[in-house]
């Protein structure tokens, strides 16, 4: 479904990603691991189109997207929950989710928020009229999820969804990811630092090191040696 081929990308002169090849299959939860600064967020940004690829290719459901703008990628079914959440601070919670509808692929224009998008976040409707910027970090994270789910994407890019969030909400987010997985309609590409967290939701794992995929494998292959070699600081 998502296929990244020998991708090279970076900021200005510096090359961050040298040669990244990875795949996400329908219904899968694929986890991207690696130490700080190896290029995980850069890879997410290049898949979303915020960074131009220097070389290589990004294809999605058979469509070539390497040169496409972020908006086209969103409209072809990729949802994005970025690092730091990037909530529109001056828009209300309700408006934030409505902006998520822009990428909707329904034939006739959707004017209201679909049930599925907020069913997993029962706290949100009570906060509809508050400004997004006034929410706490955990609430914003749930809002960012709902906003990304509003357009019913086939693939969800999650960049460190548990960063700086209290344990009880981390559990909520884990449940959300599991229930998305159980629905089987949306694949997930997840960047996360916590090994316990990814082990509890992931189907397939990639380890990024120095801008290239250093290891990949399934749940049973993720041995202590692998963890020690690539992930221990």
């Amino acid at each position: 479904m998502l296929a990244v081929q020998q991708l090279e990308a970076g900021y200005g002169e510096s090359v961050i990603l040298r040669n990244v090849t990875l795949r996400v299959e329908p219904g899968q939860v694929v986890c991207l691991l690696g130490r700080n600064g190896v290029g995980k967020t850069t890879l997410m940004k290049s898949i979303m189109g915020l960074l131009k690829a220097r070389r290589g290719a990004v294809a999605y459901n058979g469509h070539e997207l390497t040169k496409a703008a972020p908006g086209r990628r969103a409209r072809s079914g990729i949802g994005y929950v970025p690092q730091g959440r990037e909530i529109f601070g001056q828009l209300t919670v309700y408006e934030n989710i409505l902006v998520g509808l822009e990428a909707s692929r329904e034939k006739k224009a959707v004017r209201s928020i679909p049930e599925e998008a907020i069913a997993k976040f029962p706290v949100l409707p009570a906060m509809y009229s508050r400004r997004g910027g006034d929410l706490s970090g955990g609430q914003q994270q749930q809002l960012a999820f709902a906003r990304a789910l509003a357009s019913k994407p086939d693939l969800l890019l999650l960049d460190e969804p548990c960063e700086g969030i209290q344990p009880s909400i981390v559990d909520d987010i884990r449940d959300v990811i599991r229930s998305i997985k159980a629905d089987g309609k949306t694949s997930i590409l997840l960047v996360e630092q916590s090994l316990d967290f990814v082990k509890s939701v992931g189907d397939y794992f990639y380890v990024l090191e120095k801008g290239a995929i250093a290891w990949e494998g399934g749940f049973e292959d993720l041995s202590d040696e692998v963890i020690k070699k690539y992930l221990t600081v």
Binding site: G71, L91, E95
Partner: protein, 301 residues
């Protein structure tokens, strides 16, 4: 009593004119952060559009219809300035986002070109626009005569402000616009077409400048350099009010308008202006963000 009423009304009237001039800029400069020095020329385009509408009514329509040209000239001015703004955005401004100094110079150049264009088409001398007869005269209120023209401008400002409020805060397009202006990358990642939003936003700001030009024809003759008289005041209002907030722009215009009238009454025209500028400088030292600064958890970090 008369004097006080008249001074208060004058203050309000000056404020309304300042506000009308600054509203368009509140969008292009306040929301989009483009230092658009050609905004004055968009006002001038609006004024000449009114002049043209008047001439067409004069030449082709029966005399009895003439008084209604002004009602038509408001949307016409908006539309023509809107189109100029759209062309300007698509051909120049879009290459200059995030480059304030370059856009300042480039739009200033565009302003000069537009002034010369007006001079070539309409000639250098000022032209007069005849106000419709239903705006002649005035109403007597507490002993002072309040001209209908001034009252009309106040009403026009209120209407424009209301329309802008509904567009920005209540419509789908407005929501897209606010999302893009707050976080361009994220809006793009959610499927908002940022190019389209930029072009539309700039064009609407320009169009509102056109309405301001239309209103200015009620106050006196118009010329190619009409805009240059107002551009500094317009920026002053937006900066004093606080960039990015409509309420701030309203307060900024009221502040400058009322104080300007008061100081001019107590001293004279030029000294009054100096005192107003001094007050603005002092105020911005105290509150650099203007009257209404945006505050939220997300912006504090």
């Amino acid at each position: 009593m008369e004097v006080i009423t008249l001074q208060l009304f004058n203050g309000l009237s000056v404020s309304s004119i300042l506000l009308l001039i600054a509203l368009g800029l509140a969008i292009t400069f306040g929301l989009m952060k483009v230092i658009n020095m050609a905004h004055g020329e968009l006002i001038m385009i609006g004024a000449y559009s009114t002049y043209l509408t008047q001439n067409i009514f004069n030449d082709y329509l029966p005399k009895s219809m003439f008084d209604w040209y002004f009602a038509l000239s408001i949307p016409v001015s908006f539309l023509i300035a809107f189109l100029f703004g759209l062309i300007l955005e698509m051909s120049l401004i879009r290459f200059l986002y995030g480059r304030p100094l370059d856009s300042l110079l480039a739009t200033w150049g565009v302003g000069l070109v537009l002034q010369q264009l007006a001079r070539s088409i309409f000639g250098a001398p000022n032209v007069a626009v005849t106000s419709p007869s239903w705006l002649d005269g005035g109403v007597t209120f507490l002993g002072a005569v309040l001209p209908y023209k001034r009252l009309f401008i106040i009403g026009l400002v209120a209407l424009t402000l209301l329309a802008m409020y509904f567009y920005i805060y209540r419509s789908l397009e407005g929501r897209r616009m606010r999302a893009v202006m707050q976080n361009r990358d994220m809006a793009a990642c959610l499927g908002v077409s940022t190019r389209r939003v930029d072009a539309m936003t700039f064009a609407i700001g320009s169009g509102i400048g056109g309405i301001a030009g239309c209103a200015l024809t009620l106050l006196g003759p118009i010329g190619p350099s009409l805009g240059t008289y107002y551009i500094v005041d317009a920026f002053m209002v937006v900066v004093l009010g606080g960039v990015g907030k409509l309420v701030g722009t309203v307060l900024g215009a009221l502040g400058i308008g009322v104080f300007n009238t008061m100081f001019e009454y107590w001293t004279n025209a030029s000294l009054g202006k100096v005192l107003v500028f001094l007050c603005i400088v002092a105020f911005l030292q105290w509150r650099p963000m203007g009257f209404v600064a945006m505050r939220s958890r997300s912006l504090d970090s």
